[in-house]
Subunit: 212 residues, 2 copies
DNA sequence: TGACTGACAGATATTGATTTTTGTCATCCC
DNA sequence: GGGATGACAAAAATCAATATCTGTCAGTCA
């Protein structure tokens, strides 16, 4: 009415805040940009001044949400533990974060799964961030002699891929399986052995045969 | 007309054959049990004499389909190559089989993805078969000294889990990524190093911390 | 002047009436 | 009698009419 933006000017940040609230309240399928605008006390046209489309708004919300997963992991990366234990702690933290969200915010989580399926840029960037974090832990381990691999980044990507079942939302349905923790222990001990082994490879050590 | 079963008596096997034909022709979403019965020249009531529900029929078709993936791999398991190369060949064959089906039979493949999501028994049994095959290759490698792990079955399950991204249909969308082959090479060289390493673990070698 | 509005067209989602499908079973035929 | 049939009820899918939503833009107001 008198003041369309009930609390200061309308910024992308304020829109994201409101969008997240509405999303949490109504769920992704029931959230419209009119709802978001109403929560802010403005018309939906104003929202389009800051985000070119609903998809862009949704991507921005997801990006924020993903950052709240990767940011706390940064603390683990900078931790003082020896690299093998630190890598294990990092994986535990990642899995715990994913599972917590899968339970607490099932609907938003489903949105993210949808995003993943579309292999959208937002998710690619998130994965890049995570792989970088692993790479830094592995690089530390190479310096200290705990790990021996050719290329920290390649090894990091491989560790991330090999543990996909335990953190990729596409596998969320399996996270309640009784054997899931044991399965992770199995994969972890293989990975740990591979990274620790005297001359474990990180690339181009196979016969590299054509498939299909 | 004179003979309802146009070619001998009605058996589960003949029903499965017809069901698969119809499925391939119409796709899973457009296939009804009346369609299957019509293809056989019988009433749909007769189909229910052999399968308690449409779900049971669909599961049986899927089981057959999955067996056509695991059976040819048996040849690789019994092959003469040294275990490390044989394991690699087995993984290549599995990935090739999955990708071929993903391209050629996209709709049936989607059905299977749906099945996977429900974590149905049929898929569990299929995975068990595949893990057994890996375990036999690893056991061979333990005998010959090429591999050293505590428990072949546990290691096999870990290899299967660690390569999920490359054969699990939930990741089918990523199989056309340009970097997918390189990613597999990375994971493979870690796994090969882990299995080959002097005292690589297969279980219970971590700190086993509680998560969450 | 420039952020904001709100009416609008086209795209998308919802609804509920209608049709199809599933699964059962009394009956029929060889 | 053993196996097949087809009418039937309940459940599920379909479809078209209706309502809602997205994205645009000419116009308003400070």
């Amino acid at each position: 009415m008198s003041d369309a933006a009930s609390d200061g000017v309308l910024t992308p940040e304020r829109i994201l805040e409101a969008a997240e609230d509405v999303l949490r309240r109504f769920g992704p399928s029931k959230t419209t940009v009119v709802d978001v605008a109403r929560a802010l006390g403005v018309s939906h046209g104003s929202v389009y001044r800051h985000f070119p489309s609903k998809a862009a708004l949704r991507d921005a919300v997801t990006e924020r949400w993903l950052r709240r997963i990767s940011d706390p992991l940064e603390v683990v990366v900078r931790g003082k533990q020896a690299p093998p234990e630190r890598l294990r702690a990092w994986l535990d933290a990642l899995m715990a974060a994913k599972r917590r969200r899968c339970l607490d915010e099932a609907e938003l989580f489903a949105t993210y799964v949808g995003l993943t399926a579309d292999a959208r840029d937002v998710v690619k960037a998130h994965v890049d961030t995570l792989v970088d974090q692993i790479a830094r832990i592995i690089a530390d381990g190479m310096k200290s002699g705990a790990f021996s691999v050719k290329d920290a980044r390649v090894a990091a990507r491989s560790v991330f891929d090999a543990t996909a079942r335990f953190h990729n939302p596409a596998h969320a349905g399996e996270w309640s399986d009784p054997g899931i923790d044991a399965a992770f222990e199995g994969v972890w001990s293989l990975l740990r052995a591979a990274l620790t082994a005297p001359s474990s490879g990180s690339q181009t050590s196979g016969t590299r045969g054509r498939k299909g």
